[in-house]
Amino acid sequence: MYQAKRVDLFTICNYTFLTLFCLLTVYPLFFVLIGSLNDGNDYMRGGVYFFPRDFSLANYNVVLQDERLYTGFKVSIGRTVLGTLTSVFFTAMVSYAMSRNNLIGRTPYYWVHLFTLFFGGGLIPYFLVLKSLALINTFWVYIIPGLFSVFNMIILNAFFREIPEEIHESATVDGAGEFRIFLLLFIPLSAPVLATVALWNAVHHWNSFFDAMIFTTKPHLMPLQLFLMKMIREADVISNSQFVPPQVQRQISVQTIRMAAIVVSTVPILLVYPFLQRFFVTGFMVGSLKG
């Protein structure tokens, strides 16, 4: 990295552009936050751009009474934690075996994996396979099909191959089996890249709703994102309106409720983001570059 010494036109344009881009990214979040804190009916008159005009917490009152929100949080947290841990472990295990030169059948195995990146059966046959496996409408439909990712396997495989052969050799001389070497040596040695893959997995799990929309119909399996999607696309917003007193109902609107729901579901990410960030400016770059 080199340092520019003088301030030229390029620098000015660059700083201006980057600043504008950041504003463009931050403002929508701010827009939703103030909208959610505004009285619903007042909000519909428009013009709430910088500060709440008629401050009210009624929207949150309604959203936080919706049971589906809590179910959503539970399902999403559950699948993110369990899904990420199992997927990283399983994918790392296969990658470890695939990274060993003496593995019999290594080349054919590799092609069997690689082919799936270029061709697939499509959604409907996939759906029918999950149906045959009795995964439809179970929590496991979130976890099991995501256990293994060919793409991540290739990345981990490349990383494992960088680990010096002597480490494996000396462990073998000491009498360690492959499982032990994988668990006690390779996993700790590749912590940065495992963490990177875990981050990708976690983001995917937390944000996905497509599988829930297609493979489940039970309300108790509805993750947070599907709940939000229903609110945003299908406008079935005030489901619990019978529990909302009339004077509160006058203070809310479909839009401000949605905004409150969006804010509530984004708060957990805002809370973990600073920690994630520290990790991916250091570990992430080291990890991903080797892949």
Partner: protein
């Protein structure tokens, strides 16, 4: 030493084989089994949910489903939207993070750089549903901010519901994916730029190279490898429209420009349970993707002298 038999060697590495075969078993189940399911595209297996029975018992009907799709009144629109949206995203969203990474790397002020990075990575962590929900609120005619701003700068004469305008759909998709993905997409290039030897820049500066010459002759060539790897990945993923992204912004009013094969398959296949028909549609997509991939490969070879593989 005589070579040991294959079976013996296989047995001695049973631990490794177990680990590797776990992966093979997985892809056989979740990737290859659906490929065999493609057979139902050529059968009359609609409304039946048992894959095995569909495969064995359903009557063959040849290419009937493909003909039906091509005759569908939406066919031209769907094909145009699927190919158009994806090519446009490849054309715009692929190079954009590279430019963004270069712009960030040109920032000398460490603190400013960190702030820009933190902010630009953030949208990657929120889902399309949340991000789309925010944008939808901003586009609202009554209470949003986009319509008044567009009117203010004279780009719009009277308030229009942009989500109801088919012609506004593509720009919305491109712009939103730029804002959401730019920062995150630039990380890998930024990492590649960080590894460039700074003495190269010093030498170039002494030789009188200006900023653009340094970018053109040092930065870009140094990250070409990374660019090519990611280009291949994007091309191999060409027709997989981001379902989440399109789904949030799709309304009955903009279907002309928003219906893509993925959304069509979901609606007709899953909700109407027309399994055979939509399997055929999905297969159609795979074939078009393969044709585009081969075409891209040939063009790359002719223009750049090397293929994409």
């Amino acid at each position: 030493m005589p070579r040991r038999s294959l079976i013996y060697r296989f047995a001695t590495q049973w631990q490794l084989q177990f680990m590797a075969l776990c992966g093979i078993l997985f892809v056989l189940t979740f990737h290859y089994a659906p490929m065999f399911g493609i057979v139902i595209a050529f059968k009359q297996a609609d409304y039946s949910v048992n894959l095995l029975r569909s495969l064995t018992e359903a009557p063959w009907i040849g290419l009937e489903h493909f003909r039906e799709f091509i005759d569908d009144y939406m066919f031209r629109d769907i094909l145009l939207n699927t190919v158009g949206l994806n090519l446009l995203q490849l054309l715009i969203n692929f190079p954009a993070p590279i430019v963004f990474a270069i712009l960030i790397s040109e920032v000398a002020h460490g603190r400013f750089k960190k702030i820009v990075q933190s902010i630009s990575y953030f949208p990657h962590f929120i889902s399309w549903i949340v991000f789309g929900g925010i944008v939808i609120n901003m586009l609202s005619v009554e209470s949003g901010i986009v319509v008044p701003v567009l009117q203010g700068i004279g780009l719009m004469d009277e308030p229009i519901n942009l989500l109801g305008e088919a012609d506004a759909f593509w720009p919305i998709i491109i712009l939103t994916s730029l804002i959401k993905g730019l920062g995150w997409g630039s990380i890998i290039y930024l990492a590649a730029i960080t590894t460039i030897d700074p003495t190269l820049y010093e030498a170039a500066t002494i030789d009188g190279a200006g900023r653009f010459r340094r970018i053109w002759h040092i930065t870009l060539p140094s990250i070409t490898g990374t660019i090519i790897v990611f280009f291949i990945l994007s091309v191999s993923n060409l027709l997989n429209s981001s379902f989440d992204h399109i789904w949030v912004f799709q309304t009955p009013l903009n279907l002309d420009r928003s219906e893509v094969i993925d959304t069509f398959v979901y609606k007709v296949g899953i909700t109407q349970m027309r399994y055979s028909y939509t399997t055929a549609v999905g297969l159609f997509k795979s074939v078009v993707a393969l044709v585009l991939l081969v075409a891209g490969h040939l063009i790359c070879k002719r223009v750049a002298g090397r293929g994409i593989f």
